[in-house]
């Protein structure tokens, strides 16, 4: 038989242990959260600078700096989510000018029909409606198979697949020919990995159509303005 006093003592010691354990867990959580927060604060400026440099590098790849003389980063606008570009979130677009005249528009677009989902693109489209160049900024295509859409992974280093679009517009490639060859269009695809190429090709065609249609309105907007779709056409 256990004395009532003994039971009370055990219960209180169990309670004490629980409280102590909870306090230790709380202390560990606080210490390590503080460590993470400290690391985040210490690294945030460097991380932000790297992200900006990466964006500038990508923009530089699609739009050579010699073509424009304005401050591209300052002459940016915000695009409200554009379904035509495959975008669900608002994005930035950059306007390149030379001597005050529009030269090219750099914008982001996405293909939602890649083999493994979304493929993000950055494109530069000049004032004549030609695609200067485009690059894949993010994708999840099968490594070694569909990832040739990214020139870093393309085994053809001399002439990566993505470069075949350079300097083409609907004046040289009619809209209905802006497809991969398998769909009766103009652009090559790798056999066995058509879906990735088709997704990028069709997304760039849509982006080009959209940019040509909205070109004047986009360039008329003040810097840091926000561009809403005037009215989606039926």
């Amino acid at each position: 038989m256990t004395e009532p006093i003994e039971i009370a003592r055990r219960e209180s010691s169990a309670l004490r242990i629980s409280v102590r354990t909870a306090a230790i867990l709380l202390a560990f959580t606080l210490v390590f959260t503080a460590l993470m927060a400290g690391t985040y604060r210490a690294t945030a400026p460097l991380v932000a600078a790297s992200a900006l440099a990466e964006k500038l590098r990508l923009i530089g790849e699609v739009l050579p700096p010699s073509l424009y003389d304005n401050d591209l980063m300052a002459d940016a606008i915000t695009l409200a989510p554009q379904k035509a570009l495959g975008l669900d979130d608002q994005t930035r677009a950059w306007r390149a000018r030379k001597n005050g005249k529009p030269v090219a528009l750099v914008l982001e677009a996405a293909a939602l029909d890649g083999y493994s989902g979304r493929i993000s693109l950055i494109l530069a489209i000049d004032a004549e409606g030609r695609l200067l160049a485009q690059r894949v900024t993010a994708h999840k295509e099968t490594p070694g198979l569909g990832d040739y859409i990214d020139p870093k992974k393309d085994r053809n280093k001399a002439r990566p697949w993505i470069t075949q679009f350079s300097n083409l517009g609907f004046d040289s490639v009619p809209r209905e020919k802006w497809r991969v060859k398998k769909d009766g269009g103009r652009f090559d695809q790798m056999s066995g990995a058509t879906i990735s190429a088709r997704a990028v090709t069709n997304a760039s065609g849509r982006a080009l159509t959209w940019a040509v249609e909205h070109h004047d309105n986009l360039f008329a907007l003040p810097a840091n303005g926000r561009y809403e779709e005037p009215r989606s056409k039926p």
Partner: protein, 229 residues
Amino acid sequence: MNAYKEIAWNGLWKQNSILAQLLGLCPLLAISTNFVNAVSLGLATIVVMMLANFAISALRALIPYEIRIPVFILIIAALVTMVDLAFNAFLHDLYLVLGIFIPLIVTNCIVLARVEAFAAKNGLRASTLDGLMMGIGFVWVIALLGAVREFVGQGTLFSGIEMIFPTLSGIQILPADYPGFLIAMLPPGAFFVLGLLIAGRNWLEARANQRLREQRIHHQADHPTSVPA
């Protein structure tokens, strides 16, 4: 065999995280599509395993037994986050290659397994060495898996190495018109190759045990009075 040698041997072969313990299969199968990716993930894993083992070994006296698992997970996740941020800030070029792999390490249960099985019971030096050796054991297997899958799947080796060493480039081993073997690139191919590797290890182990037995029998035949081990 002294204690440190045994730790090394356990990590590299006897208790190899993949071949013997079959731990950490999620990142293993996802990332071993080519050699360079595989080694990159492996190197990041070594760093985290050494740090985690070191930290837990240092703090082990403070961690109550009942809540050790949540505390371990908290520490591992915090370390991975800090390593990720530090790589991004201070080693940005390397981060562009390894960056996507670092958060994946949290999903690698080998880290938690070693912390629980070893670092929580052993001293600082032994625990850090265990993290290093278990990490190296992980790297060589994932590297082999990546090399086999890359070779069979796309006929190349070391593709993508220019992202780490810009002067080097991958090697095309099979003719450039090799159509590729898709299943090797997809998860089922990883299971097939991993199965073959485990079978190979079991075969080697069985052969070594067989030899040991034969030696003992000879030994007994030569010295009938000696007590069997």
